[in-house]
Amino acid sequence: MTRQQFRLAEGGRIDRDRPLSFRFNGRAYQGYAGDTLASALLANGVHLVGRSFKYHRPRGIFSAGAEEPNAIIQLETGTRSQPDLRATQVELYEGLRAKSVNCWPSVRFDLAAINSRLAPLFPAGFYYKTFMWPGRAWHLYEAVIRRMAGLGVAPTGPDPDRYEKTHIHADVLVAGGGPAGLAAALAAARAGARVILADEQSAFGGQLLGNGESVDGKPGAEWAAAAAAELVDLPDATLLPRTTVIGYFDDNYLTLCERVTDHLGPAAPPELPRQRLWKVRARHVVLATGAHERPLVFQGNDRPGVMLASAAQSYVNRYAVRPGRRAVLCANNDSAYRAALDLQEAGVEIAAIADLRPAPDGAGVEAARAQGIEVLPGQAVVATQGGRHLTGVEIAPLSEDGNALAGPSSTEKCDLLCVSGAWNPAVHLFSQSRGKLRYDEGLACFVPGRSVQAERSAGACNGRFALADCLAEGHAAGTAAAAAAGHGDDSGPVPKAEAEPVGAIRAVPCVPSRSGRANKHFLDLQNDVTAADVALAAREGYRSVEHTKRYTTLGMGTDQGKTSNVTGLSVLAAALGRPVPEVGTTTFRPPYTPVTFGTIAGRDVGDLADPARMTPMHHWHVQVGAVFEDVGQWKRPYCYPRQGESKREAVDRECLAVRNAVGILDASTLGKIDIQGPDARKLLNMVYTNAWNKLEVGRCRYGLMLGEDGMIFDDGVTSRLAEDRYLMTTTTGNAARVLEWLEEWLQTEWPDWRVYCTSVTEQFATMTICGPKARDLLAELVDGLDLDPAAFPFMSWRAAAVAGVPARIFKISFTGENSYEINVPANYGMAVWSAIMNAGEKYGITPFGTEAMHVLRAEKGFIMVGQETDGTITPHDLGMDWAVSKTKDFLGKRSLARADTTRAGRKQLVGLLTEAADAVLPEGGQIVSELARKPPMDMIGHVTSSYYSAALGRSIALALIKGGRDRGGETVHVPLLDGSSIAATVTEPRFYDSEGERLRG
């Protein structure tokens, strides 16, 4: 285990009494509680953390926060593993194990680094130009690229952790707990508002935790702790540390990701969730998301040892880590000087500060000079030296326009280069809220412009970087938000900080190199996009930043270009010779930082992923060993295999039992809608294709429902229960849709009709007994009901007690056998089912599942909505004109006379009998009339239903074939994936008892 040779002896927000062991890329290290993985690595002198996406150049820790483009790691292994985390945000815990995601076989010796030597072969649009053509080979290239590019690996096993969701309303949601956010939350909460304050870090304070500034005369971190403590004591404030506001949606709906126990690692208490997704509806939002320091673009700016100045400052102040021994700073603004002073105080030798500005003169500049730091005005770092780590830099004066070097360069030895190109407000959430961004020339960045939602930006994210301004704006925003939410403005005093004059910045989009080339000037460190790539895209005609992004992959990595978007845009604007605002900005999309799928899914996984609906007889089915299938949300028995029986054998046995004796089916899942009212019949006449005027009480009728486009969307039997009352049945999967369809028409088109529709699907248990013995069986269970077909004919229903339970018995059939659908109140379902099973034993009663039902109905040529129909099929296509009224109007009728629905050559329902009796066609199989040696072949239709029929001793199929009704007797072919094919003869779509004698019995 290496010692922490870069750790300072004192200071920082780390606990030296709690050393933590961890492993990175297989090597053991030690850090302290309070470290991030990144700070602990730096304490051990580890800068090299990954290889870049395209050229596999060595990359080091670049930032100290969410914007990190390089230090992307895979945390832990196995089912708890998480890919693509930023080491700068991963809190250290005992036993942590992580590895770089983007290097193979190792971070120090990387075969793919040969790409780096081949850089000229990888220009902008490389992937599009090279690998997208010829298209057929893309899958070959992709495997290689993915392996080399690597990013993280998603775990394959089930996630062992628990994730929660919380839905909550707030008066004021404050995103970000730095000085502005704390001031806003304090002001709003003091005024009495219900406040949620969320910050992605483990402690509140933001930059105050790392930059040593003071508030109200106290050290910033101390003030932040006191402010957080006051908020905890206020009754209506909720503080959420380790919580990132990841999305800002319409009507002030925001999502927050709270990492509840990630920082505890394996020591996390099992009763706590790993992460929690907060869904917040807020009256007002205060965005206090801070800013990201902007890099500078110069040759070799990607070498490990190059770091944002503010990050270096954070590492020394917050984590007590020296990120180097001898540093050069390169800056175009004042903020880097404070970093230089803090680094110097921590014992880092400051070799020089190259300041792009010709005459820097702010307070920070003077303080640095007073400390003996050499300031080089009008100069910049123009190249870096070193291999896997920085060894030195070249510094040269810039010309007045910044486009050329104005003199020879000098070399400065250093192992740390701190860069600062000023600041980019973190406008991501503002942009997600659909607020309009405005380009600020002076700050050379985008700032929030016009708000669209009830939201205010405060502090650095609003382009106000000085601490005093952050506090004042935060306080004002919190006060205003509370007032707008209906609270007073008694928000307490404004926190104060010393105002310090800040000098202007000098924006130079791309620092020139001696060679004039810019192919090592990296804009996007994660995706390896250089200034030369963007310039090439501009030369090739790309004008829109959105297109340029996709062409060059600028900003398309897991960091979403937090450090590269604005610099890239400036380089593009310069290349196009247009001002930045004209070139535009890119859209920021949620999530702000990546979120694991587990958090989004929450508890909606496994059994809770979707509600399971079960019939009253479900447990009986389970007990007798039924195999289930999902039909919508319902669990339905597919078949009931006996010991040693295959599913196919079980289905065959069940079918034969229905044809030869009696079967019983749990049909409770069919949709049932009770329709009442004087206009009920009128409604049926409009929603069904056939006429309902003459249906008497006690009778049942089959009907087809069409959309207004004339296409079948449901079918079912509806029975007249009383003068003004009907019971409609729907297919299992469409029950809710049909009810909504009825309600829609009644409410929107016929509001004056007096009809009431009520779903009663779950109020009844439905069991269907069918087969030649069904009538004898039922006779044993009912009292005083004449079952003679003359008294109780096919397509009628009777009320009677079955096994002593009041029931409605519908004599309708979906199997072609004499059949009774017995409906009893759901709570009596199991009792009646048992009574039927007991009485049926001597008849050989056999429970059958959905598959046998399908086979039996297909033998009869009865259609299944969703199999024989797919939203493009009319009644005529199915040969069901008998069910379509010629005289009355109904929904969809007019469409049946459209040119397209009446044309010749539409697909029509036919039967198919394979030449080999035991060959079962694949459902969905394409049908051709002439076989070719290989595709393409002229496809004339497809198989819609296909089964082996035990009753017929051969396979049967239904199909939709162009002009199929005129093709009787023709031989067609169904080509299979393996190159073989099955030949079949076109027949009538009916295979069994086509006269329908059996079902009247």
Partner: protein, 96 residues
């Protein structure tokens, strides 16, 4: 996610609602008298404006009532809700 003002239930999350397309399209009387083109216009053709759109919504997981909404498809702003059968409110009234 929108916060939608159901005329019957008050403000509710968008996930409780279903979308029903363009509003104020009456089913023509006597469809058999229409040309194919006129019928197709009724069945298939819908406005897709950038701006104010009058549309139907249903409070599916609530009171199950249909109602109309004026919504700006560009800004996502809900300009108002009104009941079935009522004319659209405000300046866009009569736009149909």
């Amino acid at each position: 996610m929108f916060l939608i003002q159901c005329p019957w239930c008050g403000p509710r999350d968008e996930t409780e609602f279903g979308y029903g397309g363009e509003a104020h399209i009456a089913r023509p009387a006597g469809p058999e008298t229409l040309s194919d083109a006129d019928w197709a216009d009724y069945v298939f053709m819908r406005k897709n404006p950038k701006g104010v759109h009058l549309e139907r919504w249903v409070h599916r997981h609530g009171c199950r009532r249909w109602f109309n909404m004026a919504r700006d498809t560009y800004t996502h702003q809900v300009l108002g809700v009104y009941q079935m059968g009522e004319p659209p409110p405000g300046p866009e009234g009569g736009d149909g």
